[in-house]
């Protein structure tokens, strides 16, 4: 089936708000090429479980598409129209299963050497959309905080190497009460600007005491969910004919209830956490990967004003099947490896924060937990320099954010 033949009843399986939005944009959908539309539907089908920033972006994108003249439609989508699609893909249930369709489309584009053309078309579309619907600036300058090295007693090699050129390295920071101090600072920002899903605390170990105003995701708190997922994966792996693609399909179709997540909890956050574990690699077994990916996805999707990510220690490397079977109750930890992972993961947190609107005013602080080393990046902080000032983390934060 092609988009021109779309009917409203084909969206009957969508959640209520997504269905309503789809039906009201049916005319627009009918004009879009098949290489493009399922990518849009992949986002739309989860509309009911998306963060406010994502819902706003989808609504604006749909409004923009609706407003395009036939000539503009032609100009915007001609590159997508030139992508050849197989009849097998045309016959796929791409309305009901857009996520699986996009996965198969991706494999098809690779195998037919059309990936570059698709990538070019997608980038051009993104540029056009950003010009037509500019992203809104944040309500306040963003702040990212990364706490790394939990449990590490000493480390002599240089830290923050990728970030040093962008900020000021402080080598005499007073570490007292650092974690609670930084969490309190995040909570103060949440209190001053109470935006839904606007202020996050991502924890790689056991979560510390924190304000309920912060949206919290924690590796330890998700342990029962991770266990349930790993048990499910083990069971699936034993099925005859199961392969990596079939497993991915199975995971993509899971709901929070399948893994025993609290039905009375925050539906949007439950779906977010589910996807952290079912769509990513390594988040199920390595705490450091979990924090990095959770921060990436929170920044990309919720576009928070504040994000504090505290990396925890991950288990030592073991054979993958053994880690997936999760039979060892207290696996040995790799503290130094976790510090190196976190140091690099924090760099990715900063990159992902800087992709958001208002980046020129954003700030970032990284601290080696329990130690005197930190690095701060802010609009008027010096770059590529070292400060020997003795300062508490609260002072450092005030210089970073107010700068």
């Amino acid at each position: 089936m092609l988009p021109a033949n779309l009917k409203a009843e084909q969206f009957a399986g969508y959640p209520p708000e997504a269905r309503a939005l789809a039906v009201s944009n049916l005319e627009t959908f009918r004009k879009l090429p098949l290489s493009f539309l399922p990518n849009l539907l992949r986002e739309l089908i989860d509309y009911d479980y998306k963060f406010p920033a994502e819902r706003l972006a989808i609504s604006k994108e749909l409004s923009n598409l609706k407003s395009l003249s036939p000539e503009q439609m032609q100009a915007w989508f001609q590159p997508f129209s030139q992508i050849a699609i197989s009849s097998k893909l045309e016959n796929f249930n791409w309305v009901g299963e857009p996520v699986l369709f996009v996965e198969q489309l991706s494999a098809y584009l690779w195998s037919t050497h059309q990936l570059d053309a698709f990538r070019k078309a997608a980038l051009e579309y993104g540029d056009r959309l950003r010009t037509a619907v500019p992203p809104e600036p944040p309500a306040m300058p963003r702040l990212g905080i990364a706490i790394i090295g939990q449990g590490v007693e000493s480390y002599s090699k240089p830290l923050f190497r990728n970030l040093r050129e962008h900020g000021t390295y402080f080598e005499r920071v007073k570490p007292d009460d650092g974690v609670s101090l930084l969490l309190n600072a995040a909570a103060e920002r949440a209190k001053a600007h109470p935006v839904p899903y606007g202020h996050w605390y991502i924890e790689g170990g056991v979560e510390a005491a924190h304000s309920p105003l912060l949206t919290c995701v924690s590796y330890k708190a998700l342990e029962p969910v991770r266990d349930a997922l790993l048990r499910d994966m083990q069971a699936e792996i034993r099925h005859p004919g199961m392969g990596p693609e079939q497993l991915r399909t199975h995971l993509a179709q899971m709901s929070p209830a399948d893994l025993g997540m609290n039905k009375s909890g925050d539906v949007v956050l439950n779906y977010f956490q589910l996807k952290l574990l079912t769509e990513a690699s390594g988040t199920q077994i390595f705490a450091t990967t979990f924090v990095q990916w959770a921060a990436r996805e929170a920044l990309r999707r919720a576009q928070p004003l504040t994000l504090l990510a505290r990396f925890g220690p991950r288990q030592r490397q073991r054979p993958m099947n053994e880690m997936l079977s999760n039979k060892t109750e207290n696996p040995e930890l790799d503290l130094i490896g976790s510090l190196i992972d976190a140091d690099f993961g924090a760099y990715y947190n900063w990159i992902n924060q800087q992709r958001l609107p208002g980046s020129e005013q954003s700030s970032f602080l990284i601290w080696f937990e329990g130690h005197s080393q930190a690095l701060a990046i802010g609009p008027s902080l010096a770059r590529g320099t070292t400060s020997t000032s003795i300062a508490g983390l609260n002072e450092l934060l005030s210089w970073t954010v107010s700068s």
């Binding site: 494999a107 690779w110 195998s111 037919t112 050497h113 990936l115 570059d116 990538r119 070019k120 980038l123 051009e124 540029d127 190497r161 994966m233 699936e236 792996i237 199961m242 392969g243 990596p244 693609e245 497993l247 990513a280 690699s281 390594g282 988040t283 077994i285 390595f286 450091t288 990967t289 990095q292 990916w293 990436r296 991950r314 490397q317 073991r318 054979p319 993958m320 099947n321 053994e322 997936l324 790799d334 130094i336 490896g337 976790s338 190196i340 992972d341 140091d343 690099f344 993961g345 760099y347 990715y348 990159i351 992709r355």
Partner: protein, 386 residues
């Protein structure tokens, strides 16, 4: 707006220039375009019948910033300080195919961008370098071998191409499968050597093709099962196990065409940066050990050309569609642009070549060096090596 392809070309060129500048500075290599002398192979003086070629794929792909860029040099001391000065180094090897390890390695081995499902246990669709080599030069099965990680690679030795195919390609050794068989299921002391593919941990393909069996270990590798098990306990990774098998193979069979696929680096898919770096450092060390073995083994010393190249790179930090080093999914310039180091017989030492080449050029180049014709391959021989 600047076109995506223009940007990609510029990024690829930037990567290439960075590698060149660094190698010229750090290892004192000369720029290849400045050299006008005749082919080193013309004067190499090694009879064609004795020429041997070993190919190493630099396992799982590694990026410049962790290898050849200044900040990555600490991870590859052997490649840079010991091997680069003895090599011809190609700074810009572009892979235009599918960036999955099995299909990409198969593309390297056929000289054609293969398009089969990366996760399927299928043979390459086009003739492999091993089939061309054996057919044209009338070599026995014992003269072409592949040592590879277990997942999927068991079918890489020969294609299902008409007039080639079953029985005409390379023997394949999957050391992890051998170890599992040797342990008869009791593998607790060896689990560190049996790590799976981190992208697809559940993948366990059906065996087939010309895979080497445990029962042949004693007769072909002159290695008892007990000795194999005993030595395996001293090793720390699957690639170390592969290299141990490679050394046995070189001593006992001395194949003329040997292909080794490293894979430890692909632990990057788990998202643990420290493990990715450890994988690079280990692969660097193993490459140097192989080079020393080549120089010390009588069957190989002086007549062997060693090719080292990644099958592809990994995503750049700057591409929002990926997650940096963790994967190779974006198809950006960093994930497609790699390098190749060539050492040994007939190779100009200490030379850097900037011009782009493709992954598919490898097989025609080996063909030109060894004297066979890869008739279906799409690439072209690299003239700088001829």
């Amino acid at each position: 707006m600047m076109g995506e392809f223009t940007i990609r070309r510029e990024v690829a060129m930037h990567l290439s220039c960075s590698r060149r500048d660094f190698l010229r500075g750090a290892a004192g290599l000369a720029l290849g375009s400045a050299l006008m002398s005749a082919s080193p192979f013309v004067y190499a003086g090694t009879p064609a019948k004795k020429r041997k070629v070993i190919v190493v794929t630099f396992g799982g792909g590694a990026r410049d910033q962790e290898t050849f860029a200044p900040e990555g040099q600490e991870n590859i001391p052997h490649l840079l300080q010991e091997m680069a000065p003895q090599s011809s180094f190609f700074t810009q090897v572009v892979n235009r195919g599918i960036l999955g390890h099995y299909v990409a390695t198969a593309s390297l081995a056929t000289g054609v961008y293969e398009t089969f499902n990366n996760f399927a246990a299928v043979p390459p669709e086009h003739p492999t370098v091993f089939e061309y080599f054996r057919k044209d030069l009338r070599r026995p099965a014992s003269d072409a071998w592949v040592v590879a990680p277990s997942n999927g690679f068991n079918r890489i030795g020969e294609s299902d191409y008409r007039s080639f195919g079953p029985g005409t390609g390379a023997r394949v050794i999957l050391p992890k499968h051998l170890l599992t068989a040797a342990m008869s299921g009791a593998t607790s002391d060896y689990e560190h050597l049996l790590r799976d593919n981190y992208e697809t941990p559940l993948y366990a393909p059906q065996l087939g093709g010309s895979e080497f069996e445990l029962q042949q270990m004693e007769s072909i590798l002159k290695l008892s099962v007990d000795d194999f098990k005993s030595h395996a306990q001293t090793l720390s990774s699957p690639d170390e196990l592969s290299m141990y098998i490679v050394r046995q193979l070189m001593r006992q069979q001395a194949p003329s065409l040997l292909w080794i696929t490293m894979h430890d680096i692909d632990v990057a898919h788990s998202g643990a940066y420290s493990l990715y770096i450890e994988g690079i450092q280990r692969t660097d060390r193993l490459c140097a050990e192989l080079w020393k073995t080549i120089q010390s083994e009588p069957e190989y010393a002086g007549n062997t050309t060693l090719f080292i190249l990644p099958d592809f790179g990994r995503d750049s930090d700057q591409d929002a569609g990926g997650n940096g080093f963790q994967h190779h999914r974006t198809g950006d310039a960093a994930s497609r642009t790699t390098w190749m180091m060539v050492l040994g017989a007939g190779v100009r030492e200490g030379v850097v070549y900037d011009h782009p080449m493709q992954s598919t050029d490898l097989v025609p180049t080996i063909g030109a060096i060894m004297g066979f014709t890869p008739s279906v391959a799409q690439g072209r021989p690299i003239q700088d090596l001829l």
